[in-house]
Amino acid sequence: MIKRLLIANRGEIALRIIRACKKMAIETVAVYAAGDDASLHVRLADQSVCIGPAGASTYLDIKALLSAAEITQADAVHPGYGFLAENAEFSKAVTDLGLCFVGPSHHLIALMGDKINAIDTMRKYGVPTIPGSQGNLPNDPKQHKAIATRIGYPVLIKAAAGGGGRGMLPVYHEQDLSQSVLDIKTQAKQLFANDDVYLEKYLEAPRHIEVQILADQFGEVVCVGDRDCSIQRRHQKIIEEAPAFGIPEKAREQLFATCRRALKKIGYIGVGTIEMLYERGQFYFIEMNTRIQVEHPVSEMVTGIDLIQQQIRMHAGQKLDLSADQLSSRGHAIECRINAENPATMQASPGQITRLHFPGGHGVRVDSHIYAGFKVTHYFDSLIAKIIVHAESRSAAIRVMQHALNETYLEGVETNIPLHKNILASDSFQTEKIHIHFLTKAKHSADV
């Protein structure tokens, strides 16, 4: 088993990983950028190392991270999510050093990180995919028109190196196609240093459904459940729930079986999530995330599995060993991502938290790195807390979440809590009429 784990991350996920390590009696090493030393993950780890100047780029400095692992004699590195979590070079660098990378091999990251490769791979193993260009768009604009016509409008232009909702643009009419392709290519070059784009059918009102995978080094792959993450603002998830309501059991079983088979074939190890769009009873694979996800707690609440613990166990070479209880799902869980931002404009709202009270009680969980006195800076993304609830049904979970948000008191930064309250109170959300364009089609911005 791993003895000392270095967490190559910060914020709430670093804290989450430290907590799993404490449970497993694994020593922890926190790293931080100058100025981030007052962070909880630094305070609570067994050791901490300042690895570079203030700012997010320090957490992307592979040399500094490896140097910190060397001087602390860590034997494993956990990349968390974001930063270098899906960076094949980092995965390889860690394993080249003889350390355990708590994430997939660089081959698998490279395979699934390129969106087009991932779609091709999944299609090959029978996972349904969205009708699309099936490859990067060639340079000839005439061919673009032909491909789009074959797929059928509206189409979605997507950057091959994109992800997290960035580098995408829908096109409704043929006359807008060429200019839109040029626009996305330019954007992609700037954001991802890669201007390859492809086309997909644009679904009007699909739900975002994803499947949580666990796989060990002995070829055992399990789908531990699904999640609905349809509530998104500018392609960023803000509310997630487990399980995904309203999926016919047979369709779910078939989907899980297909995903399991595909991941066994590619030799996947660890945790991963297969993301799909679901419309009119059809699943369409869009991408796979080869890491732990922000919203993993909702799956933990309904199954009782500690996904980070299981992830570490898988990479330490242990066999998957889930109980019957853990392989089934009870009740319903919802997570609200609390961001330090203006609820109407989404503009980040850094500042010092002067007062803080988090909710509690039966079925209420808070994953957060903030505390009264903590300075939320502009250097990092605006997620400051995840409030998660678990109750016997979806309607009960909504009521528990509404009360939990009412109980939450936070002074010093603006948050999107008013937006969450509006969404939860809406008839559409309560009657399960949700889809990924929920927040653009219905105007749910908070009254400021």
């Binding site: 100058a34 067994d46 050791q47 300042c50 040399k63 500094a64 490896l66 001087i71």
Partner: protein
């Protein structure tokens, strides 16, 4: 900021030295003052309450240093001489110029030459040869000639 009086701090330092205590922490209900005696015998004051973690193989990292200091520009292992048999790059009391190499920090088998950011006299060497250093950790205290 901590609003303690100088004489309070001096009293704590005296207590520390007199009783040969390595570290003293004083809580007054509202704030905490921590004083640690460094290897060279001088006392350092840390304020406000601050949890310093240290690795088992490396010494505690002092966060504040009187005078100006040359800090580690990266995380790694510090070497005070160009090779195991050679003389140290600099000595206490030596006058150095801006840009002069004062030590090496090795990270991932790459040796980085650390150059002084200013001219002056080396007043103190804050680290031991072969020990781990963090980014921004004080390596040398430098002062005017």
């Amino acid at each position: 900021m901590v609003s303690v009086k100088d004489k309070d701090i001096q009293r704590i330092i005296d207590l520390l030295k007199k009783n040969q205590i390595g570290e003293l922490e004083v809580h007054d209900g509202k704030q905490v003052i921590k004083v640690r005696s460094s290897a060279s015998g001088g006392a350092q004051v840390k304020a406000p309450a601050h949890h310093t973690t240290s690795t088992p193989d490396t010494p505690s990292i002092p966060r504040t240093k009187a005078g100006r200091s040359i800090k580690a520009p990266l995380v790694g292992t510090v070497y005070l001489a160009p090779s195991p048999d050679a003389d140290a790059f600099v000595k206490v009391g030596q006058t150095i110029s801006k840009g002069q190499v004062v030590c090496l920090v090795e990270a991932m088998k790459t040796f980085n030459h650390v150059k002084s950011t200013e001219a002056g006299v080396i007043k103190e060497i804050c680290v031991e040869n072969g020990h781990a250093v963090e980014f921004d950790q004080p390596l040398f205290v430098i002062d005017d000639a």
